[in-house]
């Protein structure tokens, strides 16, 4: 395992997901990349002008969360990269895993029923299967 992508967005599962990715990276001496994907479309319809600001703020918040994950990795002696992207969440993660030729993707299962989950119901195992089929990366659901 040479490259691990850890998809994080600061939800209830985030801490456990990050810890798992960090320990995997340490175990395999692999390169670790924390990925944050934001999608301004999730904030509903709005003017183009405001959408741009929302996107900018989402990216800024994402960077803060990535820095927090980065500090955690460093504290455990693991060097990590951070990437923030905007776009449809699933497709963006899939594309990034393919683009970086990652060997593994670590991702969190929803912990709370907020009624508005990116990976609610059975969609996460389906997505994991799709990632493995299309990119060959092993998916760890935490």
């Amino acid at each position: 395992m040479k490259r691990i992508v850890c998809a994080t967005r600061g939800g209830a599962a985030s801490r456990a997901v990050q810890e798992r990715a960090i320990s995997l990276a340490a175990e395999h001496s692999a390169e670790l990349v924390f990925l944050y994907v934001s999608d301004s479309c999730s904030c509903g319809a709005m003017s183009d002008d405001l959408a741009q600001v929302v996107e900018d703020e989402l990216r800024r918040i994402g960077r803060s969360l990535l820095h927090i994950a980065h500090v955690r990795a460093n504290e455990q002696g693991v060097e990590a990269d951070m990437v923030a992207k905007c776009g449809p969440v699933r497709q963006t993660i899939l594309d990034f895993v393919a683009e970086t030729q990652a060997d593994a993707l670590v991702i969190g299962a929803p912990r709370t029923d907020t009624g508005a989950q990116e990976f609610g119901g059975d969609s996460l195992p389906v997505f994991a299967k799709q990632v493995t089929e299309e990119t060959g990366a092993e998916v760890f659901i935490v």
Partner: protein, 536 residues
Amino acid sequence: MEELLQTQTLVIILLLVVSLVAIAVRRLRLPYTVALVLVGLAIAFLQPVAVEVTPELILALLIPPLVFEAAFQVDFALLRANLVPILAMAVPGVLLTTFIVGGIVTASVGVPFAAAAAFGALIAATDPVAVVAVFRTLGVPRRLAVAVEGESLFNDGTAIVIYNIAVGAALTGLFDPVAGVLDFLVVSLGGLAIGLILGWMVAQVIARIDDPLIEVTLTTVLAFGAYLAAERIHVSGVLAVVAAGLVSGNVGLRGMSPSTKIMLENFWEYVAFLANSLVFLLIGLRVNVPLLLADLWPIAVAVLAVLIARAVAVYGLSWLAYRLGSRVPKNWRHVFFWGGLRGAIALALALGLPGALADREMLLAMTFGVVLFTLLAQGTTIQFLLRRLGLVGASEGHLEREIRWGRLYMTQAGQRRLLALNTEGLLTGDIWAGISEEYRLTNQQLTADVDLLYAQYPELEREVVLQTRREALKAERSALRDALVRGWLSGQVHHTLAQEVDRRLEAVRLIEETAFGSQASTADANSGELNSGMRI
């Protein structure tokens, strides 16, 4: 002149009472509206006040701002997601309540069916203000709050239409079902159409100007104007205000600058607070306790009938909604049932019952009885139900975070004071060293406790990131004003930069409202190509 001064004095006294209750209720675990009713009751019992509460006062003056503000706040996307259960409760639900309550009241108390049906219709209008306030405090899912508010917005309108038809039948003794259905459709759809048209027109005007004061004034004209215009052509004024509010809050807002949005939201929040406070205080003041006691049996029947009708409507229609492909979670159904409080609309309609109607006074007493029961019994216990059903958000984590933050805040204030005493030379030597070391260690421990909490409740982490961002933006806004006052910035530059910060504050609010952009439904593959990617 004397009469005007008396009215002015009365309004000022009422506002003073409202303010005092609002201050006192902060210390009590009681919904604000319930506290107002109780205070009104106490005043009426100890020192009766001559306040004339007419249906016109409530319907034309107090209801439009309340309904407009509630509709303005409703996110159309969330409303659409709950449209089947909302409409099921608002149309067949009101009809079911009308017939069930009417039937039970006729059978048990002997009121003629048409008059009892008018009571059934007026009592079908729910008023979730007290419940929604509890929702906000406890962090209940936003979708549930929208469903409860949405039901109330629409059932107010349908209840009034059915009430008018029933009152007409009670007075004339004639009822044509076909004409009744047609009348219902014309009045309801007519009201909605008026609201949509006026709301759209105002949104177009607002999109072409950029002056917060004029835009706020236009929304005021819209809220009251939509009601009056609809009533003038004999269609539903309340539904017109609902539609106008929805259009303004969803379409109109897009054409507004962030500064206007903030001003508009503050303005309507205040107006709704005033209207709401006066409505519930007046309910308390208007209750005649001896008369209620005289009609105890009919009131008990009415309360029971309302509960039975609500149970049939909620559980029966939830099953129907499920068959139509819209699932209402089981625990939500119990909240719909017990959270179906009655308030201003029911009261206004009861006061408007014609004098010629059979058993008018008894129906009025029954309405007051039901309103009081729902507010005092259901309104005060809904929070226990929400906790029992597990619908309260991560309050344990939030509460614990507040406690740990509070302790940290206190300790740091103590440390700063010690440092000041040391600087002034009042605290020195070994005593200073000992005490400051103790504080340093406590501070260290408390900081570690906060970090530990984030490990336990990781979802708090992103909330803190957002909260901190909001705080920072507010500080930036405040610094801008400071720079303007000191003459470092010209008015024009201040205006441009302030608008920029307001736009960012608006963006942060949107992100917070949509649970940090986690809505999968809108993040579909068609929503666009990858916008950007950056390595940090």
